[in-house]
Amino acid sequence: MTRIRVLSPVGVASSDTLSVPPLPQSLAGRTVGFIDNRKANFDRLADEIGAILSAEHGVKAVIRRRKANAATPAAPEILAGLAKDCDVVFAGSAD
């Protein structure tokens, strides 16, 4: 049987990496943020998570910021604001 060598069609990934800061050990006294991606019910989910974290884990404040729509990235000012004000941020959810 003749054999042939064929090339892979798969693209080469970038090897760049970013360091991810560790999560705090506790959320007590912390500020938690949400990037609301405007998918249906994400606002209600975020409100419920925020309420639980405030009531049961001593979270100081909960901030929710809405993207323009679900399919485009959050505006830079939203990201900058959350980075400045929050200790932990939930970046969104799918459908």
Partner: protein, 430 residues
């Protein structure tokens, strides 16, 4: 989560909740909120460093980091690529050696998830070199989402060979990729969405005929190598370079046949208004499959365009909800186009007519679709009259009008996915 790995942030903590979230009632949302909090608690108490994986490498199973997923949820989220024992690592970028028969080659490419399921031309080094035609193999057009792999000319050429392209098609393929990588096209959204969008390539100028692109009868369908293989090359590139595999990074709920191949040319010779562009150029349009416009009886522009406008609006369309990005492509059959032109309509008149008539009343829009999560301008959100007819696109210029097809009383409306704008680029030698 290899998308995070591709972004170099594979150590980013994740919490997983049941899918779906949309359409759930209060108790379902409360359950998911509790799932998220329980997992977050687990992540917070993990030893320092336990959640950090920073290789960013594709094709290698990442160490399990989030161990707190409820088992019932985890089962539903399992990545098929890492669990199918019959699957050879699909992410390898190295050459492979296979038996030289059509059946063995197809089996090898299917096994690696390197093709669309149809037979391919084996991409040998010689064929790829011929496809490149002397262009620099390592030239990068940029990183292609959703896995942000580098779109080098050699990888594009491999996929073009596989698709069955003639080397003469390659500059067009490269230009289409460049157009898709422009920010306005939002290729990440097009690739990853649950919507069935596929990039439609519209080829303008003399090059269309020179390459054998078909613009006549059945132009959206089979039978013509240039249309079929150029469109297929784009799909293979989106899958193999971008990494959008169905159900894994290409999250289309159902997808569409247009995802196999979607490439047409203009019928400038049959257009009363000339071509959209006279130069050699390709437009990429993130569209749904064509929606048929059947009008066998109208003898006036208003009649034909009333049918077009009605076809262009429906509660189930994405168009209109993300308003600023919404566009409609109207592909008029030559007979419909002539009937419209016989009433003295210019292309701008057609655009204006469709803009004014392709509308739904507010009361209909409130029934479902994306009501409540739409991205509308302030003036539209302020409307309270349920009988008010609201536009689908921001301006008449967002109704693109072209002519293609053969004899018959049919046209097509191609709605866009509403988060991607059409992009046109001139085709030049590489």
């Amino acid at each position: 989560m290899s998308e995070l790995g591709a972004l170099g942030i594979s150590g980013l903590p994740l919490v997983m909740i049941e899918h779906p979230l949309g359409g759930e009632r209060s108790e379902g949302i409360s359950r998911r909120a509790r799932q998220a909090v329980e997992q977050l608690k687990s992540l917070l108490t993990q030893p320092p460093g336990a959640s950090t994986t920073l290789t960013g490498e594709i094709g290698r199973a990442e160490p399990a980091r989030v161990s707190s997923r409820p088992p019932s949820i985890q089962a539903g989220l399992t990545d098929p690529a890492t669990t199918n024992p019959a699957t050879t690592n699909p992410a390898t970028t190295s050459p492979v050696t296979v038996n030289d028969t059509p059946e063995a080659v197809l089996a090898a490419f299917c096994e690696r998830e390197w093709c669309d399921g149809l037979p391919i031309v084996p991409p040998t080094e010689e064929r790829v070199r011929t496809m490149l035609g002397g262009a620099p193999a390592d030239r990068s057009l940029g990183a292609m989402p959703p896995l942000w792999r580098v779109a080098t000319l050699d990888k594009l050429a491999v996929n073009a060979v596989m698709a069955g392209c003639e080397p003469a098609y390659f500059p067009l393929v490269v230009t289409a990729v460049q157009a898709m990588l422009e920010p306005a096209f939002n290729l990440y959204g097009v690739q990853a969405t649950t919507h069935p969008v596929a990039p439609l390539l519209i080829v303008h100028g003399p090059i269309a005929a020179e390459l054998g692109l078909h613009a006549g009868s059945g132009c959206f369908g089979p039978g013509f190598r240039a249309n079929a293989t150029i469109g297929r090359a784009i799909r293979l590139i989106l899958m193999n370079v971008g990494g959008a595999w169905p159900g894994r990074h290409d999250m289309a709920t159902q997808g569409s046949p247009a995802k196999f191949s979607y490439c047409i040319a203009e019928r400038a010779d049959a257009s009363p208004w000339g071509a959209l562009h006279d130069d050699n150029r390709v437009t990429v349009f993130g569209g749904e499959p064509p929606h048929n416009v059947n009008d066998h009886v109208s003898t006036t522009a208003a009649g034909i365009l009333a049918t077009v406008a009605d076809t262009a609006v429906s509660l189930g369309s994405n168009v209109g909800w993300y308003f600023s990005q919404s566009q409609l492509l109207i592909v008029l059959g030559p007979e419909h186009a002539q009937t419209i032109a016989n009433d003295g309509f210019s292309r701008a008149d057609v655009q204006r007519f469709v803009f004014e008539h392709a509308r739904l009343p507010l009361r209909t829009l409130k029934l479902g679709g994306m009501w409540g999560i739409q991205d509308w301008p302030r003036w539209m959100n302020a409307v309270t009259d349920d009988d008010a007819l609201l536009p689908q696109v921001p301006s008449p210029e967002d109704v693109m009008v072209m002519v293609a097809g053969g004899p018959g009383k049919h046209s097509a409306v191609v709605p866009n996915c509403t988060f991607s704008r059409a992009v046109s680029r001139p085709i030049r030698p590489i």
